[in-house]
Symmetry: C2
């Protein structure tokens, strides 16, 4: 379980009070399997979305309509229609690379969460650390993040986050520059 416990928050449930819809509680850094206020945390939400995509695909196929292969606006809309009010596009996109780390190397993902929690770091710091870990993982494959996303079933349905792609690209350029500077056989400048 990717970042916490069981069910979506119901902070928004009792509308009888006439109050505005409450925001979800902010995510916090947790260890694997740890429950937070009896609800899920970030990574679980991303896994949930995979199921919503599958539903949307099944419906489209049955109707003979164009069938989405990615996490499109249509899928987010469907999730919301199905009552998943805790899911929204900007938030989910914000954490996709954390989900990627978890998909690509679960042990490493768990270790990083434990470490960040011990240090008392906030979600933002953990999220930043996830970028570094994913970039390292892509190194043996020439930092080809598109290929790595594409080959993993759970990951291939997500658009590669812009920032992650930029980081991988920068790292590849660094490596090429230094290997050619040191007389290596990298691509010429």
């Amino acid at each position: 379980n990717g970042g916490g416990g069981e069910q979506p928050s119901r902070a928004l449930a009792k509308r009888g009070g006439g109050r505005k819809r409450q925001r979800e509680h902010p995510f916090i850094v947790t260890e694997a399997g740890e429950v937070v206020r009896g609800k899920n945390n970030g990574l679980d939400y991303l896994f949930h979305l995979y199921k919503f995509l599958t539903q949307v695909q099944k419906i489209a196929k049955k109707r003979g309509e164009k069938c989405p292969t990615k996490m499109t606006n249509k899928v987010f809309r469907y999730a919301k229609e199905e009552g998943a009010n805790h899911i929204n596009k900007p938030k989910m996109r914000h954490y996709v690379h954390c989900y990627a780390l978890r998909c690509l190397d679960e042990e490493r993902s768990n270790a990083l969460r434990r470490e960040c929690k011990l240090r008392g770091q906030n979600i933002g710091a953990w999220m930043q650390a996830c970028y570094r870990s994913v970039v390292e993982i892509t190194a043996p494959r020439g930092w080809d993040i598109d290929a790595i996303f594409g080959e993993h079933p759970q990951l291939s349905v997500w658009y590669v986050p812009t920032k992650l792609r930029q980081l991988c690209h920068a790292e590849r350029n660094n490596a090429t520059a230094s290997s050619s500077a040191s007389g290596g056989k990298g691509t010429a400048a």
Copy 2:
């Protein structure tokens, strides 16, 4: 081969005359390999676009930018910038299913062109006939046109034409209905 001869029309070339840009000559039905006014015909244009896509992909990859896998607006724009004034999106999309027939069964495509030409049919009639042929080809695969496009390298870069998908869907429904009506083992109604 794909529908005519050698080079794009130069009807638009001499702008010295101060005239407006001329339209391309309308496509006409040709046999495989037949030259028309010393220029290409429809199917060749589609094959050309594959090369433009490859270029766009190479540039995007080098820059570490998002890399298109399909024939997007970006590719059409690139083709135009490279001077391919004879290519435009609505025209090319109009003939994608004809290109598909050619990719999937070249002999059959050639035979159909010969037949339509003999009958003196116009481009529109040939185009309609192409729909029927492609739908027939998809039958053994359960009319799954998306799968068939996806598996063919040349074809997978094109969005499945809406009308073609609808025709395949209708045909599948027909088959299901009649097989269940006749006591076959199709999906129940």
